[in-house]
Amino acid sequence: MNLRRDVFQAIADPTRRSILLLVATHSMTAGAIAANFDTARPTVSKHLQILTECELLKQEQSGREVYYHINAKKMKEVADFIEPFRKIWDDRFNKLEAIMKNYKPKK
């Protein structure tokens, strides 16, 4: 039974976000990925399954090993991501400005 997983549900989990970061630049086997976490191997496998189901990760067979890599198609074009990036910094800077407007020098 393969439920179609929601991308947002998938990246809501910090471990799954860490997995995406890990394989962002090169493909890795499940074992190599699991070695980066304290969590039990079956838990990591479950995360990999969810990420694969929602197509954020792709599996690639190479000999006896299965490698996981980022599904570039699912990840949007760079231009689409400048706006979210800008929003993150804009939020941070708005907060900075608000904090410093109320800044009282320490005595």
Binding site: R17, F81, I88, R92, F93, L96, E97
Partner: protein, 154 residues
């Protein structure tokens, strides 16, 4: 709502330019980058170390509501010249992303306004693009619903 922050990431380039004008004197804008408790507030992270001097180091750590560390980054200051300039490295721990180089320039526009220009240089154009494609890499601390709203808009 119009964003006050501009971001430029030229096609095929390996850097990102972030520019923002603040309604703050330049000294206060600079101070917001040097006092650990203030940095912690607007960066929404724990500040483990912040040695404000040339060759000093910094380290941030962010945990999720359950207390698991989800993000840790560190770096070294190469130039530290109040209230005008900070040059530092940025390394995300436990990820394969190479170290980034960041140039922060603080400029007084009037007595009450100032501008911050931030240039982030990546090891390659490919790494820069990879990083941009994962906004959550910069906002791991963001609440899920906030992140979701952000992504749905695109």
């Amino acid at each position: 709502m119009e964003y006050k922050t501009q971001v430029r990431a030229g096609e095929g380039q390996q850097d990102i330019l972030i520019t923002r004008v603040f309604e703050l004197p330049v000294e206060l804008l600079f101070k917001a980058h040097t006092e650990a408790d203030i940095v912690a507030q607007w960066m929404n992270t724990k500040v483990l170390q912040l040695e404000n001097k040339r060759h000093g180091s910094w380290q941030y750590e962010t945990s999720d509501p359950q207390g698991n560390v989800v993000f840790r980054a560190n770096g070294v200051f190469h130039e530290f010249e109040p209230p005008a300039k900070i040059t530092r490295t940025f390394e995300m721990e436990n990820t394969p992303f190479p170290v980034q180089l960041e140039f922060l320039t603080f400029t007084a526009l009037t007595d009450e306004t100032s501008q911050l220009d931030m240039q982030i240089i990546f090891k390659s154009a490919a790494f820069r693009d990879q990083m941009l494609k994962m906004p959550f890499a910069y906002g791991l601390n963001m609440a899920h619903n906030k992140l979701e709203a952000l992504l749905r808009k695109n």
